[in-house]
């Protein structure tokens, strides 16, 4: 109950701040531009594909390209949405209100996380509107698209949890944002580097990167191991965030 109260305030607060609007609008603009580019190139190759008898349909062609790009763009957007979750409370001096209330630290963090999920869901929905707009003109592979949307949501959830944790570590939102972006990029680059080294390094170094586990979803496969990865990734950082806030009470 109090989780929903905290989540509601968080979500309302995010939408009251210009940051969220600018971030959502900026991400949408860039993603939209990339979507149009890929759509254009699909339209160019489509006659050849038909001529050669088959090839990938529009969903199979667009989904990996669009969502691969969206994941990269959101890598930059998410830190801006998570940075003030706890660091902002610290800075504003509002944390004592939450800590002094009959609410556990778990409830505080879950409330914050749920509020964040609200805005991340908006981001996922806004991105999904682009391929969905094509249903006006053609038939899409609904299953493949649903899978890509699911993967996208899991990806932003994992990245958001990391951002939430880093936001509990500091009272400066900018530090939280920079650290979140830094870690997400480092994980991504580590995976890329591993890819150049070949087996077994590609698997080993690529594993911690959320982007690695997004790929199967974009190729129309439901990889339960990848889904479990995202749940564990998010769970780990939510747990760390709870511990950090508990520690605040202990260390002061």
């Amino acid at each position: 109950m109090t989780i929903l109260t905290i989540a509601g305030r968080e979500l309302a607060g995010l939408f009251r701040s210009p940051t969220a609007w600018v971030v959502l609008a900026g991400a949408q603009l860039v993603t939209g531009f990339i979507f149009l580019l890929h759509l254009e190139s699909y339209l160019q190759v489509q006659p050849k594909l038909i001529g050669s008898g088959g090839g990938p349909g529009v969903t199979a062609f667009l989904a990996p390209r669009l969502y691969g790009a969206a994941a990269m763009i959101h890598l930059f957007a998410i830190p801006l949405l998570t940075m003030q979750l706890i660091a902002g409370e610290r800075r504003q001096g509002t944390l004592p209100l939450l800590l002094g209330a009959p609410v556990s630290t778990l409830e505080i963090i879950l409330g914050k996380f749920l509020g964040l999920l609200g805005i991340l869901l908006a981001m996922v929905a806004l991105t999904a509107l682009m391929p969905l707009s094509l249903t006006l003109f053609t038939d899409l592979d609904g299953g493949a698209l649903a899978l890509a949307i699911t993967g996208h949501f899991l990806f932003v959830t994992g990245a958001g949890a990391l951002g939430l944790w880093l936001s509990t570590l500091t009272r400066e939102p900018t530090i939280a944002a920079t650290a979140t972006l830094g870690i997400l990029l480092a994980l991504l680059l580590l995976g890329e580097w591993g890819g150049t080294l070949g087996s077994p390094w590609s698997g080993l170094l690529g594993w911690p990167a959320p982007a690695t586990h997004l790929d199967p979803f974009l190729t129309g496969l439901f990889d339960s191991a990848a889904a479990v990865f995202f749940v564990l990734f998010a769970g780990l950082f939510v747990t760390l965030a709870v511990r950090r806030l508990d520690n605040d009470r202990l260390q002061g």
Binding site: P102, S104, L250, G252
Partner: protein, 315 residues
């Protein structure tokens, strides 16, 4: 055993920050209808103590019971009986006053149906009706402080903890806030921290003086206002007698010369010494010009306690 459980009963509270012991073996009790003033210099450990009483900070050692419920064992139940205004009012600048108070009420477990009424009640109590729909970020400091107090009482807690509630306000605002605190003190128990002596004198029924993390003095404020407790008087005489003549008066324990003809007499407060001094002055023709009681003042005690310790430490 006392007949009623105290609202706040803290025993043996300690708090370490690394090697520094900020709060050292503090005992604090708050009864219903009482306003306790926690007095101390900046950095004396007042805020740490209050943070611990409200569950914001975990004590290194000690126990806290709120209305008989252990704060560390069942924080959820215990915190419901508590309202806390931290040193910096925990306000969200992007919320309206009414929205914020409803949020604070929800956090403290006020059922949905009662939140509107609870917010309206504290807004009229704290004089916030006119700014109900304004954003907190646009309010003046005085109003923000009032919103902070309103937040602490919106769930009608039995015990209220206020950390420096009047700091940074203008004299008119201070008067208004003090009036509000005095009103609240009739039904609730209040612990109030401050480094402003007149504030304690104006509001509190009991005072605890804190210094270097320890409570050096705890007692009722009546000790400072009661006429019967006079233990020193200052007299001005036209023809001062020798000290032995004064010592001959029963109940005088000390004579101190402040200026020619001006003496401070230390005396036993249980006897009517001032009356005897007056009689003696008339009989012996000392020419009594002035006689004023030197009440043991809070300021005097505060300065004595806090500077003696410093002298001791630097010695």
């Amino acid at each position: 055993m006392p007949e009623t459980t105290p609202l706040i009963d803290a025993t043996g509270l300690c708090r370490d920050y690394g090697a520094l012991r900020a709060v050292d073996d503090v005992d604090l009790r708050l009864e219903r209808g009482e306003i306790v003033g926690l007095l101390g210099q900046n950095g004396a450990g007042k805020t740490s103590t209050m943070d611990m009483l409200c569950g914001v900070l975990a004590p290194t050692a000690g126990a806290i019971a709120i209305d008989g419920v252990d704060l560390l064992e069942s924080p959820r139940t215990a915190k419901r009986a508590l309202g806390y205004l931290a040193e910096h009012p925990p306000l969200y600048p992007d919320m309206s006053v009414r929205g914020y108070l409803a949020f604070a009420a929800a956090l403290h477990g006020v059922p949905r149906a009662g939140r509107g009424d609870a917010s309206d009640r504290v807004m009229s109590l704290c004089g916030l009706k006119d700014v109900a729909h304004r954003l907190i970020g646009n309010l003046s400091k005085g109003y923000r402080q009032r919103v902070g107090i309103a937040q602490a009482i919106v769930h009608d807690p039995a015990a209220i903890v206020l950390d420096e509630p009047t700091v940074g306000l203008d004299p008119i605002q201070i008067r208004a806030i003090r009036g509000l605190i005095a009103d609240l003190g009739r039904e609730h128990g209040i612990i109030l921290s401050t480094h402003i002596l007149p504030e304690v004198q104006a509001l509190c029924s009991r005072v605890a003086i804190m210094h270097h993390g320890r409570i050096l003095h705890g007692g009722p404020m009546s000790a400072f206002t009661d006429d019967t407790a006079v233990d020193r008087i200052t007299v001005t005489l036209r023809r001062a007698p020798v000290d032995s003549e004064l010592h001959a008066i029963e109940g005088i324990t000390g004579v101190e010369h402040l200026a020619p003809g001006r003496l401070r007499l230390t005396l036993d407060p249980t006897r009517d010494v001032p009356e005897r001094v007056a009689e003696a002055a008339v009989h012996a023709g000392w020419g009594l010009l002035e006689m004023t009681p030197d009440r043991a003042s809070l300021e005097q005690l505060f300065v004595e306690l806090t500077t003696a310790d410093t002298a001791e430490a630097s010695a």
